[in-house]
Point group: C2
């Protein structure tokens, strides 16, 4: 068999303003390129401990079980479900976009009886609606998406939802993939039991790890399982022995990805969460005003609009051709809508290192140039 | 909550001669540190296609479904099982070390009725023993470890095993985690149905991806499933739509890890597999002779000894203290044994970029210095 030959890796200098990955700061790329050491080397165990400590800050939690799962955000979602669900358990999922659908699909794979609480794409859940649903029926687990990447919404009132869910004895799982590090996420203050995220959004680390945090109720549920977790790679009863004090080998951690995440989280800590949230908000507001002016009005009402991922309605123009021109002529990546929003919206991320004033005005200027002449 | 502060990433210049991760060539680290682009960017789709083509060369296969799974080697193992097992299926696993045990454990999570074919740690299976087992009972799938990382064996006669397994209508799954890229692996010539590996062994790429290849019988089994795959993240019916011509979004691929893998595989192709296998063999033979001289005789007989991971018996000395001194005084990582071999063997990897003559003589010289004076 002949060995194939391909040239050196060569990519264009993209400005990443889609729903992720976001751009990665040079310090993070440099850290990632350090030579790997062993996954049981005492020096790596120290790096793991520091990364966990930084992750707790990002999640605003004291949960000791706070770790990067060795897969992308979807693996984090699956870990947040499979560890707490046993066959036959009743689960309630808030579905107001694609990632709610995915939660339903995943929970089903682990034998859950899943009820859907639905809202049209672009809306969020009033807390009393979830309160009403958990009063009507006993659930083991309720899953809600904080920032819906498919629609641009940010679910308000998480603390109120958590309180209702706990009043009826269920666990609250929160998807913070697109909010962590860019928009307030307060796991302990809100009393969220299980939350997960991805590294490639507002943390501005390359994709490949999924931050996950599990509070006391979640750990108790894990401890009192009657069946083994239906997924070996994501089984927290095994994974926590590697990330905990035992340091028992489970699988080889992605060493260099963990270097990168530690550095990305150091940047979060140096900036400070409050300042970071304010930066994301300010750049988003600049974008919203500019889009409105250009004739791309925001798709989601202000009171539940996500500042890290903006969706806007599209005037009469060719969606795909417009985005292709942005990419090919200006090196700017944004995304279109999908599912019921296909062809109706753009999705524009200002996340982490991508959330910079110069990126906003560049995008607006490029969009203006590409507008069909009236 | 106060933001934690940690210093710049700083690790010691380790010489990695354990069972993985192996050392990573500078070209791979450089490729990995390129800024990420989007996972649906046409430029990334091209990189994916090139990586698949290079992976096919490494596996010596024409299988179109040849991809890097977005997790470490254990995720590859789980993908190789969960996609082909439905609850109630009969599975036979060859258990002659830790990774055989793990195959049993994982297959059980997906509802398989698992039979174990056992050999003591350090031995391999005569092909007629597997032939006899598949004749006695009908199995859907038989799983065998090619290179057992816990013991240092290399299973011979894989083609003969595959032929017996197929004669009785089963699929053959082969674990090539520690052999791919360092020792002959010939998927098509041997007629193996499903094989997986890790990036951090003989391919000398950081850990984080798991090469996987699936042949026609495996694809047919996947197509004719009656139930959904019990694992969403690793569900090949969805994953293959992203890596195939449809390019349907499933999860965000670990972009930079894929940059690294492409470069690591380019190095494999440039060296050529035959030359690479010969290099691993020559350096292993040098090591074996040196260890014998020092009083650490190889643990596995020559006819099924793995050249990429050597195990040797330990004379009267403190196992853990010896390895700690190698690490702290010489920056050399090797590993001890575990399970029934704990305290009885060292495990020394000469894999990929770590397999160099200078590393062998350095290790032997350091071990000689550390020998207790008689």
């Amino acid at each position: 068999m002949k060995a194939p030959a391909f040239p050196d890796l060569q990519t264009s200098p993209r400005v990443l303003l889609g729903p992720g990955p976001s751009m990665v700061p040079p310090r993070v790329l440099q850290a990632m390129a350090q030579p790997p050491i062993g996954h049981l080397d005492p020096e790596f165990l120290k790096i793991m401990g520091e990364t966990q400590s930084l992750l707790r800050y990002a999640f605003q939690t004291d949960n000791s079980l706070t770790i990067p799962v060795s897969g992308t955000g979807s693996a984090g979602m699956e870990a947040a479900l499979c560890n707490f669900i046993e066959p036959g358990d009743s689960v309630l999922v808030g579905v107001n976009g694609y990632f709610g659908e995915r939660l339903v699909e995943m929970a089903g794979r682990y034998g859950a009886r899943v009820d859907r609480l639905e809202r049209p794409w672009g809306e969020v859940f009033p807390p009393d609606e979830i309160g009403e649903a958990v009063r009507r029926k006993a659930y083991k687990l309720v899953a809600v998406v904080h920032a819906e990447t498919s629609t641009g919404t940010l679910q308000p009132n998480v603390a109120e939802i958590a309180s209702a869910v706990h009043r009826h004895g269920a666990l609250l799982v929160l998807d913070t993939v697109t909010s962590l590090g860019g928009s307030p996420v307060k796991i302990d203050e809100w009393d969220v039991d299980i939350a997960y995220s991805g590294t490639q959004k507002c943390l501005s680390c390359p994709p490949g790890l999924a931050p996950l945090t599990v509070g006391p109720r979640g750990r108790e549920t894990l401890r009192s399982r009657k069946t083994k977790v239906g997924n070996w790679y994501l089984d927290l009863t095994l994974v926590e022995q590697y990330w905990g004090s035992e340091r028992t080998y489970h699988h080889t951690a992605p060493i260099n990805m963990n270097y990168a995440l530690r550095e990305a989280l150091r940047l979060v800590a140096e900036e400070g969460l409050e300042a970071r949230w304010a930066r994301h908000r300010a750049n988003a507001e600049l974008l919203w005003a500019g889009l409105e002016n250009l004739g791309f009005p925001p798709f989601v009402p202000l009171d539940h609009r996500n500042p890290t991922l903006t969706t806007c309605s599209i005037p009469a123009l060719d969606d795909a051709a417009f985005r292709r021109s942005l990419l090919n002529e200006y090196n700017i990546e944004i995304a279109g809508g999908f599912g019921p929003l296909k062809g109706r919206i753009f999705r524009i991320g200002l996340m982490g290192f991508s959330s910079r004033r110069e990126n906003v005005i560049l995008l607006l200027a490029a969009m203006k140039e590409l507008m069909p002449r009236g």
